[in-house]
Symmetry: C2
Subunit: 319 residues, 2 copies
């Protein structure tokens, strides 16, 4: 069995994955703040998950129960390692999860950027339910920021320098809103949860939901922000498919909690583009977009798949 | 030895490639119009190239001299076949190059879209001169239209439906010029040779060169068109690197005959973007752009590499 964790800013999602690829146990717990607390969150959940699947909870027993641990985290991850840097949402500047989580559990650890882990997990879940149809997928994360992960034939496309999928900072309007990256009209400036919250300006727990509710009530500023969000997401989908021609664009991230309230507006924007352009129409973009179900374990599952590469690397090194 | 042809609207470029990958003979001839004339162009050049490398010119001798033929052509090509459709610049609606060129020469044939063939050839040439530095490359074709081909670890990324690299029809300005695809502000509407020629409106043999010369002389409309061209090319480079993170963007196609007169303006646009955005600056885009030398045999060489897959396929089929 293998462990996978998706460490988010507020919650951590942990799963136990059987050799068949099936998730056989799952837990969610609040994430601690800072490196030590994040490590304690993961090791504590590992013990709880071991109990849940009938294993022992001391280090020796964990090592015989679990072959690997994979951790998805917001931040930069050196490929094929457990080194994470700039996980600012978690209060972590740099952490070696092999020397912390790995040493505590006695199990090899690999890390991955959370969006890339979610892409890998979403691909696995999609393939499991719709076998054969999925040769390539982009996972478009709609959260505070906007970024995508690409999976082709089950493998992540990382790019040459690890920045593949930074579609949030492609400008689609030279007169659009100023983005915190310094450009104008970035996709993220239109549809990033952070950018919308800042422009909306109300101190509420769920600003994008608040914008949608206010738009429904006819508020002009909310209507403009909501239209911008739909346009930004549609632009990201057009950019992704026109550049990479992935078969499926899977939408995930916090903003997708709005479900069809958001997706229907995105589809409307794609349909308007297709109506104006026979070329766009031929790409059937609206049919290629799917919504990751709320509460999907995609990111934790993807992390477990990344973790599995740890034992593959060891087999090569020692084999 | 293997043959590779790049069949363009006016000229066809043909090469003989040794098993080492070296080009040992090269010819350029005018391209005939329509399916029969295109086939005659290729078979006639095959005989000339056979003579150039000391082989016989009848069908039996050609089959013992050349193991495969690869043909790059503007149009749509079904992957791993010799079926080409919509090669409108050549007056061809559909052609099976295996049943025409292949039967005439007695050699297996494979076809590829010309931009994808050029991408493969540019990657091979780049790797040969700068080994190790090239893990991934986009070839950005600046011709009548704008499209890119992607190569990763020596393999073409075709996408799920064969439309990967259609970056020309990504809109980067909702108030930009109308594109013939129906959208506004497409990259191709800014920097496609066809779009520029149409807006410039002068009946000259080389409209983009004419625009550059007129801009140098201070013509306001030419200055605007030239700035738009540089901006469109820079936008394509940003889209390509932000989405796919290829290490190198190689510029090719007819418009690159302008050489550094064009490239310096594109670099200026990239530098202006980088000055406004620390994030863009960190991607070092200007350093990742290169110009394919004028007269490079990249497309014909790439076609020969595609042709080589014909004998690999046969080896698998016949065991």
């Amino acid at each position: 069995m293998r462990l996978g964790f998706d460490v988010g800013g507020t919650k951590t999602d942990g799963v136990v994955v059987a050799p068949s690829g099936t998730i056989i146990a799952r837990l969610r717990r609040p994430t601690g703040w800072g490196a030590e607390a994040v490590v304690a969150t993961i090791t504590g959940m590992a013990a709880e998950l071991a109990e849940a699947v009938g294993g022992g909870v001391d280090a020796g027993a964990l090592a015989s129960t679990f072959r690997s641990v994979g951790v998805g985290m917001p931040g930069q991850v050196a490929p094929h390692t457990a080194m994470v840097t700039h996980a600012v949402n978690l209060g972590i500047e740099a952490i070696d999860l092999e020397r912390t989580v790995g040493d505590a559990l006695g199990v090899p650890v690999r890390a991955e950027n959370d969006v890339k882990a979610a892409a890998l997990g979403a691909y696995a879940l999609h393939g499991a339910t719709d076998a054969g149809a999925t040769g390539s997928m982009a996972f478009l994360n709609l959260g505070t920021g906007i970024a995508a992960g690409f999976v082709q034939d089950g493998q992540l496309w990382r790019g040459a320098r690890g920045t593949a999928g930074e579609v949030g900072h492609i400008s689609v309007d030279p007169n659009g809103p100023l983005c915190k990256c310094g450009q104008r009209g970035c996709i993220e400036a239109f549809c990033g949860g952070g950018a919308i919250a800042e422009r909306w300006g109300r101190d509420v727990p769920l600003p994008v939901l608040d914008v949608f509710d206010a738009a429904d009530a006819g508020d002009a500023r909310a209507l403009a922000l909501r239209a911008g969000l739909a346009h930004g997401v549609a632009a990201a989908i057009r950019v992704i498919v026109l550049a990479t021609d992935v078969e499926t664009v899977m939408l995930g991230g916090g903003v997708t909690a709005l479900g069809t309230r958001m997706l229907s507006l995105v589809r409307d924007d794609l349909a308007a583009g297709a109506a104006a352009s026979p070329f766009l129409s031929s790409l059937r973009l609206a049919e290629r977009v799917e919504l990751l179900p709320t509460g999907s374990p995609a990111a934790a599952l993807g992390a477990a798949l990344v973790g599995a590469t740890a034992t593959e690397q060891e087999a090569v090194a020692h084999g």
